[in-house]
């Protein structure tokens, strides 16, 4: 009876150990999943920050390019303003032509 009881207890303990091992396997798997997900999310956040910084740099570059083009345009306007000012006193006929071409107005002398 004693040996039989010992045998049954031993077997129950073995089965319990196996059950515990199954739980441990599930636990390990979940831990591995969580670690993996953390790693993936960290890399995702880093990548997002990187492209966001690149985006801000690109926007700054675009703003600078636009500001430069506006400066160049302003210089061109000033230059042409001076040209038209000179044209008014030196060559009114060509100024008339320019105005007619530009606006389509009729010149009335």
């Amino acid at each position: 009876m004693v040996f039989l009881s010992l045998g049954i207890i031993g077997k129950m303990r073995y089965d319990y150990k196996q059950l515990q091992r199954a739980y441990e396997v599930t636990e390990d798997s979940l831990k591995a999943q969580i670690d993996g997900l953390k790693d993936i999310h960290q890399r995702e956040i880093a990548a997002r920050e990187e492209i966001l910084n690149e985006y801000h740099d690109l926007l700054k570059q675009i703003e600078n390019d636009y500001a430069e083009s506006q400066d160049a345009l302003q210089e061109l306007i000033e230059s042409r303003r001076a040209d038209y000012g000179r044209q008014f006193s030196e060559d009114p006929a060509s100024l008339v032509d320019d105005i007619q071409i530009m606006y389509g107005f009729d010149y009335v002398p």
Partner: protein, 138 residues
Amino acid sequence: MFLSLLLLLFSSAAADEGKFTFLGEQQCAQFEGVLFDPPALASILARQSTANLACQARIEYELSVEAASYDLEIRELQISFDALSEESTLMITQKDIEIQQLQESLLRQSADNKLWWYVGGVATGVAAVYGAYRLFNE
């Protein structure tokens, strides 16, 4: 003031393509109109002659901003896709490992022999009763 003069000029131009003339000092004009002094006229002409360039620069600026914005959106979506793809691969891999280990664990479990447990229990009970009967009867 300058804007209102421009407005007058352009509204006139829209009506009958406009007219213009140059007046000397004390000179009368042949029609009602607006007189610009040379710097003002030069400014109007200069701005008009560079309007296409200004417009082109503005279009390029707006297109660049839009392109950058869409590029950012595309890259963000690509990052999301990559992350989700990695998560999916990770979950599937881990679940495969878990299933394999649980199957191995299950194989090590004792088989579910209910009949043998029943027979063994009855036989043990009978033997115990018989043994006790013999022991205490002698």
